[in-house]
């Protein structure tokens, strides 16, 4: 017979025992040692039927297939681009996935499509076993972003910044009239007049900092109202 040592949604520390007995199965963020299941990272315990996992509270972005993310072009290669996506390693965007027409690589310079420093909104096409990340631009809405600034936040706090059905980000857009694109990787692109961009940036930082406070929406609303006078 197995039983839980730690309750669900409690915080666990690496090396802490979550459950013992063979009735439970270890999943993400846990490992089995003998009879017991041990957390291997700091986070919240989640139990679904017999599967135990730990939801991380901090850390770098781990790419997953079909994620919509924002990246910065770091290098232009012979047949593709190297993109900084705020993850463990840089990602790769091949020409074939970025440009619709056929490109003669030997005759043309692909930096006419994307230059170093360009901000793009892109999609994770594939993540290989050895963690090579392939990006793609073949979907609607995926494009180069002109102008604007990038704000980086902890990727685990993205759900709070978006809010329920995009309520939080929608409210910021309404008050500041800025264009905002939120990438799953924790990069947020903001475009608008300089002073409005500054307010938006501070509002996002406020959400990141106080993401645990209840009634966060009201707090942010108050901040935006006082700033937009």
């Amino acid at each position: 017979m197995g039983n839980l040592v730690v309750n669900e949604k409690n915080i666990v520390i690496p090396g802490e025992e979550i459950a013992n007995g063979m009735d439970f199965l270890p999943s993400f963020g846990t490992y089995r040692d003998g009879e017991s299941i041990i957390a291997n990272r700091l986070g919240l315990v989640s139990v679904r039927n017999r599967v135990i996992k730990v939801i991380a509270l901090n850390g770098v972005y781990m790419p997953q297939m079909e994620d919509l993310i924002i990246g910065i072009v770091k290098d232009v290669g012979f047949s593709g681009w190297t993109i900084d996506i705020g993850s463990v390693t840089y990602a790769n965007l091949p020409v074939g996935e970025a440009v619709r027409d056929k490109v003669e690589l030997l005759k043309s310079d692909i930096s006419k499509f994307y230059e170093i420093g360009d901000i793009i909104i892109t999609k994770v096409m594939n993540v290989t076993k050895s963690r090579i990340v392939q990006l793609s631009m073949r979907d609607h809405g995926l494009r180069k972003l002109q102008g604007g600034i990038i704000v980086k936040v902890v990727p685990q706090k993205i759900p709070r910044i978006i809010g329920k059905q995009g309520s939080m980000v929608g409210m910021i857009k309404e008050y500041t009239k800025c264009d905002i694109s939120v990438g799953q990787n924790g990069f947020i692109w903001i475009c608008g007049p300089a002073d409005k961009m500054n307010i938006t940036k501070r509002a996002i930082k406020l959400i990141e900092e106080k993401s645990h406070i209840s009634g966060l929406t009201d707090k942010v609303k108050e901040f935006l109202e006082s700033e937009s006078k």
Partner: protein
Amino acid sequence: MKRPDGRKPEDLRPMEAKVGVIENATGSAMFRIGNTIAIAGVYGPREMHPKRLEDPEKSVIKCYYDMYSFSVPERKRPGPDRRSIELSMVIRNALEPAILTKEFPKSGIDIFVSIIQADAGTRCAAITAASMALADAGIPMKDLVCAVACGNVRDTAVADLNKEEEDVELTTDIPIAYMPRAKKITLLQADGDLTAERFKEALKLGIQGCEQIYELQKKALREKYQVSGEMIEDKD
């Protein structure tokens, strides 16, 4: 036997731990034991530089130990010296068995530890702070690592020596790093002579001390995230 600061042989100095002290780091922590203060910051896992040192199977851990020039009574020449380069290696070797490096191939994890006040036991304080910072950064680890020095002063086994005791003639200083759940020792050094019997006594006191530090580490890590716990709860 009376110790200079009136402690019993098994007592540790007063301790304090805090998590999340450096804003720009992925994870950070401060640990104080007596008059020794260590601040650790963890950056990454991130792109490995220099590129030729990257490992396609696991992430590479780099550690920088630095003692500030004002940390000791006599001004220390700033910058890395022979001692701090060796200690960087010692700290890295003590932490590496706990970190699951295979989760992030081709990456590098940078650990920076600064000693802003030194009163013996700096490498142990550095390991304790760095392991909290690693956990705060969300890096997968088998276990936390806690460390404390023990030793043999005037033919008595004691835990957590301070500078005064360390400077006594014929003192042996034994820093220990310990993984409390796995019950494994990841660092054990000794400079000086002592009998096998004294060594066993000292080791026992050291491990007891590590268990105490472990409780403090867990408390400090929980404190930072306790409030954030609600965050996920009202999302469902």
